[in-house]
Amino acid sequence: MGYPHVPHQKETPVLTKHFGEAEARSLDGWKKRGGYRALEKALGMAPADIVNVIKDSGLRGRGGAGFPTGMKWSFMKPGDGKPHYLCCNADESEPGTFKDREIMRWTPHSLVEGCAIGSYAIGAETCYIYVRGEFTEPLEHMNAAVKEAYAAGILGKNAMGTGKRVDVHVHKGAGAYICGEETALMNSLEGRRGNPRIKPPFPAVSGVFGMPTTINNVETLAAAAPILINGADWYKKMCLSNPKSTGTKLYSVCGNIAKPGTYEVVMGFPFKEFLYDLCGGPLPGRKFKAIIPGGASVPIQTMEEAEATIMDYEGFVAGGSMLGSGGVIVIDDQQSMVGVIARLARFFAHESCAQCTQCREGTAWATKIMERIRDGEGTMEDLDTLLEISENMTGKTICVLSDSCATPIVSGIQKFRSEFEALIHGKKFHPVMAAVA
């Protein structure tokens, strides 16, 4: 993917509109592009009215679960005398996902603005942007943007001269996928090991520092500004499918595909057109075999499923998977599905925080068995064992990392069983085999 970013004509650039324009990173450059008009408008509104606009717009969380953002914001009860917090989840570590990174690299002020709007709307005076430690360049741009916003009086005790306090701080993580889970992020922010917490209590009751907290993904918060400026109806209309999924969505596309990169399309866009047209289709001489459309934690799709999918929250479910984080991993006929899944299992085993037995043991054993099959030393019973372990890893733990490890294994065995069996029966994986299957 090259920059400057030239959007495909079928894209609808809202959040990606200024990607590739280095000038947009500075406060002046951002203001020239209409920046901070939304915050100014927000600070002149009653917080509850902002929450209502977001509710009306139909915006749903872009971090993975798709929870309605306006509803989440309305759980915060201002005026109880306690400090309230907003956390921005910029831990982006889900394999296949790199869209938040691009938002922070190219339009850091869009996130500062979104965080300030969100904070004001939920009655939080402090917002922490938790950025994964490996994101050195995004961190540099975010720190610079926050500094500029303070110097210009946009943030601080008297935000934009309104007498309202809005503080935004950037907090650097230190390497742990699990810190993207919301309660693990809060523990990490407090200076603890990043172990997820048992819920309830939910963050809106007791979040970071034991205080009412809302947590949102980078893309979710960045979307708040254009919604406030253009209105809920404008956002709702950006949809080709069903009214439960509205607006634009960023997809980061990677793996075996001609044009990897970050794309922004309206909800309801046909996935087939997206893959073959916008993203340029397969690499020369190759064929797509499978897609993991929403980051490593969602079920694997066969091409038949993927090509019939409508890109929205409900559409990906109907297509046998989930929208998830929008991290589209494309796997072609040169790859062994068993190899891909074994490596994903190893990822989850490495990232398990090890609090729950099912997860700690399950991810480790699943990885061993997957690697054994990959290396041609598996047995047919191993497949049953894998399914049984997966069953025990699902729905039984403090967070869903455990479930996420089981997901590619179960969907892989269901949809690509012949590849597992071929390896078990002593046939080494050969790319041609997949092409024939």
Binding site: M1, P83, E92, S93, E94, P95, G96, T97, F98, D100, R101, R105, R132, G133, E134, F135, T136, E137, E140, D167, H169, H171, K172, G173, A174, G175, A176, Y177, S188, L189, E190, G191, R192, R193, G194, F209, S252, V253, C254, G255, N256, P260, G261, T262, A296, G327, I329, I331, D332, Q334, Q335, G339, V340, R343, L344, F347, H350, E351, C353
Partner: protein, 176 residues
């Protein structure tokens, strides 16, 4: 490719050299400013550990003890936190610490070949080992959040995107 950042090339203090305290003068002021951002002292733990690593190249037992003292925590507690996160070095590392992503999305785009080329051209030979000249340490890491730029590697603080096995010598030349 990402905008090049200033290559830090920090010098690691050795495991047996005397420890020089970090939180005096400028860094102390920096920490005091950080403390104003949070309602508890403990919340400055990750940032304080980052500062120790920046100043000393790694987080030693002495570094842990110093952080514990300034934040009014126990060394055992601080150590428990340090060991949870993968980015704090618990041992001195080469002048250039190289992290290569090998998670599936990069794996299917040739990340393993990049690892092999890095081990060969740095002279580090094995993952986690430092090259005999003390310059390079290479490790495999999980997804770096830049999967569309396979294979991304990190050399200290600098991100290098779209590295392929044959580009490795050219990339390393900048750090020789």
């Amino acid at each position: 490719m990402s905008t090049p950042l200033a290559a830090p090339g920090h010098a690691s203090h050795g495991a047996h050299e005397p420890y020089v305290k970090v939180f005096t003068g400028g860094p102390r002021k920096e920490l005091d400013e950080l403390l104003t951002r949070y309602p508890t002292k403990m919340a400055a733990l990750l940032p304080a550990l980052w500062m120790v690593q920046r100043e000393r190249g790694w987080v030693s037992e002495d570094g842990i003890a110093e952080v514990a003292e300034v934040l009014e925590l126990t060394p055992a507690y601080v150590k428990g936190v340090v060991t949870f996160y993968t980015m704090y070095h618990q041992h001195p590392v080469g002048k250039y610490f190289i992290q290569v992503c090998t998670t599936s999305p990069c794996g299917i785009c040739g990340a393993e070949d990049v690892v092999k080329a890095l081990l060969k051209h740095t002279g580090a030979v094995e993952l986690g080992q430092t090259s005999p000249d003390g310059k390079f340490t290479v490790i495999e890491v999980e997804c770096l959040g830049a999967c569309g730029f396979a294979t991304p590697i990190m050399i200290n603080e600098e991100f290098v995107e779209s590295v392929t096995a044959d580009k490795v010598p050219e990339v390393l030349a900048r750090f020789a």
